[in-house]
């Protein structure tokens, strides 16, 4: 018999007899560190109650870094869900010396039958856990932490201030006009709050007429905060005083009102809010405000340590949606099926983090009837500028008639570029290779891409011309393999990112791979057998690291002009980062050698 403390849930759901059963039925087990207590897929025979030590719950299907999905310490219970499910979904492993009380499965199932609320507890935790896990996956690990630091000033509304001499009827009218929930009245230097509930109570319960003065129903004891206070403090105040709005005052001047609904919507995960805003936007203005919040979202995600890959995916989706909306606002619906808006360059690859220049083009169906296409496209470009996408300095935009053409014309230009093979044509080909449709009819782009592959994939000379560009910039490594350390920093875009992106792009063209993201192409190339799996993985990691370094640089120097943002000053990096950077550049160097071997660039 064991005298365990059974006053905690779930055991508090049992009566004395049930608890006595538990006490009499428990055994004790000792596990050495790293012992696997319960293996994935193993049949659960016991419910474990930890007396001492720590146990990790491990999902063996995940990579090692994220495999540890749960952690149990003294007093925690595990293994119950394995019994209910029949087998364990995850692996439980002792992290330290562990002493656990064991409840045999027969006893556990017997208790579940006798006490439905006891069973309900575990069913609930099962559902709860499943929900937590899906949330974790959906959000890519977004947490509340960053939003706890939001200030009141970021979330307050303009106050609706009224004179005390106004009547109740007038006040209701004004409230309706301004879509507000509450108003403030000022009388004899004091501020009072009137909510809709107050008005109702005043009219119905107190029996005031509609002409009665508003200050008779007002409350003059206000809960106030300053704009500099944290938002969660306001939330705490609301909870404590059981009110749903607080007044923001700064040195006895009225600044605004914070409502409970505002706070709650602010606290709900912000990536969700931004995407929701984009979806709900019905006019350009709301879309623009949502669009301008994306850089903020990026910083928040990065600050929380979200993997760059996931942040990029999220941003690519958001940007796609924003452009799609802008397209819907500016282009008449009858043209949607006859045309295809494509984004190119980094946007096409889904690798832009901050808003970069708009690189886009339009493909028209051969039989499209669209006389005022030029004006429409000019409008679209302008719209995108207002949404925060700066114009492209190379003028690769739909406002430029060169980048608006029918399918046949596009095919012709591609053939011409492939024949000419000068610097400009090669660049256009490369840009075209990254094209990705964001709005309109995506079939049109597929047709053009097919023609591009048909023309270029087997053209060895063209491929080697294309590949040579990847070798244009030298890798910033010294003869002895250490990092070069010039005063002004090394350009990681030219030295690291570009060779990977362009080399992979060329190989993808050769293998006719339709995916546009570099990581996706690497995976496809590895599946295809063109690249060794290890090399593909290394290149992906190197690219992620370089992009991350570049993003850090860009976030810290957002105002400084573009040339500096690609430069990383080696001396400022930590030794670990320096080591990683050196390794990545070595990978880039190896890849360049691979390219020059494959495309015979040794003597060119």
């Amino acid at each position: 018999m064991v005298d365990v403390d059974l006053s905690q849930p779930p055991f508090m759901l049992l009566d004395d007899e049930g608890r006595d059963h538990v006490r009499r039925g428990m055994d004790l087990a000792y596990f050495e560190p790293d012992t696997i207590i319960l293996e994935t897929g193993e049949k659960g025979e016991y419910v474990f109650l930890i007396h001492k030590g720590e146990v990790a719950e491990i999902d063996t299907t995940l990579p090692a870094a994220s495999a540890r999905i749960g952690h149990y310490t003294a007093g925690d219970l595990f293994g119950a869900i394995s019994i209910l499910n029949g087998k364990s979904r995850y692996r439980f492993q002792a992290e330290q010396e562990c002493l656990c009380y064991l409840m045999p499965s027969t006893l556990f199932t017997q208790l579940c039958q006798q006490y439905p609320s006891f069973e309900q507890f575990f069913r609930q935790t099962l559902a709860h856990k499943a929900r937590l896990l899906t949330e974790k996956r959906a959000e890519g690990g977004v947490t509340m932490a960053g939003f706890m630091l939001a200030k009141v000033s970021e979330c307050m509304r303009q106050p609706l201030l009224m004179d005390a001499s106004i009547s109740i009827a007038g006040a209701v009218k004004k409230l309706n006009d301004s879509h507000a929930d509450s108003l403030l009245v000022e009388t004899q230097g004091r501020l009072g709050m009137v909510t809709k509930t107050d008005l109702l109570n005043g009219l119905v319960i107190e029996g005031y007429t509609q002409d009665a003065l508003i200050d008779q129903v007002a409350h003059f004891t206000l809960v106030t905060v300053t704009p500099e206070q944290y938002l969660f403090e306001a939330l705490v105040l609301m909870t404590r005083h059981k009110v749903t709005r607080v007044v923001v005052m700064e040195q006895s001047t009225l600044k605004g009102v914070v409502e409970l609904t505002d706070v709650l919507s602010y606290f709900s995960s912000r990536s969700y809010v931004v995407s929701l805003q984009v979806e709900q936007a019905n006019d350009l203005e709301t879309l623009a405000s949502a669009s301008h919040r994306t850089p903020e979202l990026v910083s928040a995600l990065m600050a929380q340590g979200v993997k760059l890959r996931f942040a990029m995916d999220l941003l690519a989706v958001l940007n796609g949606r924003i452009m799609n909306k802008a397209w819907e606002f500016t282009v008449d619906e009858q043209h949607h099926s006859q045309s295809c808006l494509m984004v190119m360059g980094s946007e096409g690859r889904g690798e832009q983090i901050l808003k970069t220049d708009q690189d886009n083009g339009l493909i028209l169906a051969d039989d499209a009837q669209w006389p005022d296409v030029a004006e429409n496209m000019q409008a679209l470009t302008n719209t995108l500028i207002t949404l925060g996408y700066p114009p492209c300095p190379g003028n690769i935009m739909v406002s430029n008639p060169q980048w608006v053409a029918s399918v046949t014309e596009w095919k012709k230009s591609i053939a011409r570029w492939a024949d000419v093979r000068d610097g400009d044509s090669l660049m256009k080909l490369a840009i075209m290779l990254d094209a990705h449709s964001v709005a309109g009819n995506p079939r049109l782009l597929e047709g053009v891409r097919e023609a591009l592959f048909e023309r270029c994939a087997r053209d060895e000379i063209l491929l080697s011309y294309l590949a040579r560009t990847a070798l244009r910039f030298s890798t910033p490594l010294t003869l002895f393999g250490s990092l070069k350390k010039p005063q002004h920093g090394i350009d990681i875009k030219k030295g690291g990112i570009f060779p990977i992106v362009h080399g992979v792009r060329t190989m993808a063209l050769e293998r006719r791979i339709g995916v546009t993201s570099t990581l996706g192409r690497l995976k496809a190339l590895a599946d295809d057998g063109r690249l060794e799996r290890r090399m593909a993985d290394d290149l992906g990691e190197a690219l992620s690291l370089l992009t991350e370094l570049r993003l850090k640089q860009q976030l810290s120097s957002q105002e400084i002009n573009d040339t500096h943002s690609n430069r990383v000053i080696v001396q400022e990096l930590s030794s670990l980062e320096r080591d990683l950077l050196r390794e990545s550049l070595h990978i880039v160097k190896d890849f360049k050698q691979h390219l020059s071997h494959r495309y015979h660039l040794e003597y060119s």
Binding site: M1, V2, D3, R24, D27, L28, A29, Y30, H51, L99
Partner: protein
């Protein structure tokens, strides 16, 4: 007799006195054709029995006893054997109550062939472990001898000796504490939520497991 003692001392290196070995062999032959024969067979399994005993001496002594089976990993607390043995006299009532309260024991049994056989069946031929086992078992062995004609024949591991030996091995110059509670703190055995004699038996089982691990680690 002195030569016998000398041989005893030599034989003690093997964990058992020569006299004990001879006695055991004699008993095994003697009980070969009785229901108790299996108790004298050497044990081949992996389980052990941790014992804790508390004795109030007297004309017929009162013995409280907790026995729990353990294997490599588990201590089968749910199947523990806990009871107080007493003589038939009513005068023992006070002692019995004290035993019940102090050692948290619910079952009271009379010394008889039947009850002792029940205990022997529970223990079987598994090895016994316990803190200062010789002292704890002496009265129980007398009772066994009185009623069944033999003392507990099981192999015995004294955790106290194991503790002393292992501590001396690790820290040759340190005087080993010989209190049970000191030994528990010394080897960082967590307190177990079990009171009374069963708690003591469990603690000695845990201490045994801990020492076993320490011995395999230190080679």
């Amino acid at each position: 007799m002195s030569s016998m003692q000398g041989i005893d001392k030599y034989a003690a290196l093997f964990g058992r006195s020569l006299r004990g070995v001879i006695k055991r062999e004699r008993d095994r032959r003697r009980y070969a054709n009785t229901p108790y024969a299996w108790l004298f067979q050497p044990y081949m399994g992996e389980e052990l029995v941790a014992l804790a005993c508390q004795v109030t001496p007297g004309e017929t002594p009162t013995i409280s006893l907790a026995a729990v089976i353990l294997d490599q990993q588990q201590i089968h607390l749910s199947q523990a054997w806990v009871a107080t043995f007493s003589g038939p006299q009513a005068a023992c009532e006070k002692t019995l109550r004290r035993h019940r309260e102090l050692y948290n024991i619910e079952t009271t049994l009379l010394f008889s062939v039947q009850t002792l056989k029940g205990l022997a069946d529970f223990i079987g031929n598994r090895p016994l472990i316990g803190w200062q086992l010789d002292q704890q078992l002496s009265t129980l062995n007398d009772a066994f001898n009185d009623h069944l004609g033999f003392g507990l024949p099981n192999a015995q591991v004294d955790v106290a000796k194991l503790h002393q030996r292992q501590l001396r091995r690790r820290h040759p110059l340190v005087e080993a504490p010989c209190q049970f509670s000191d030994a528990l703190t010394c080897w960082q055995i967590p307190a177990i939520a079990t009171r009374g004699l069963l708690g003591k038996a469990t603690a000695s089982a845990l201490l045994y497991m801990r020492l076993q691990r320490d011995m395999t680690q230190s080679g």
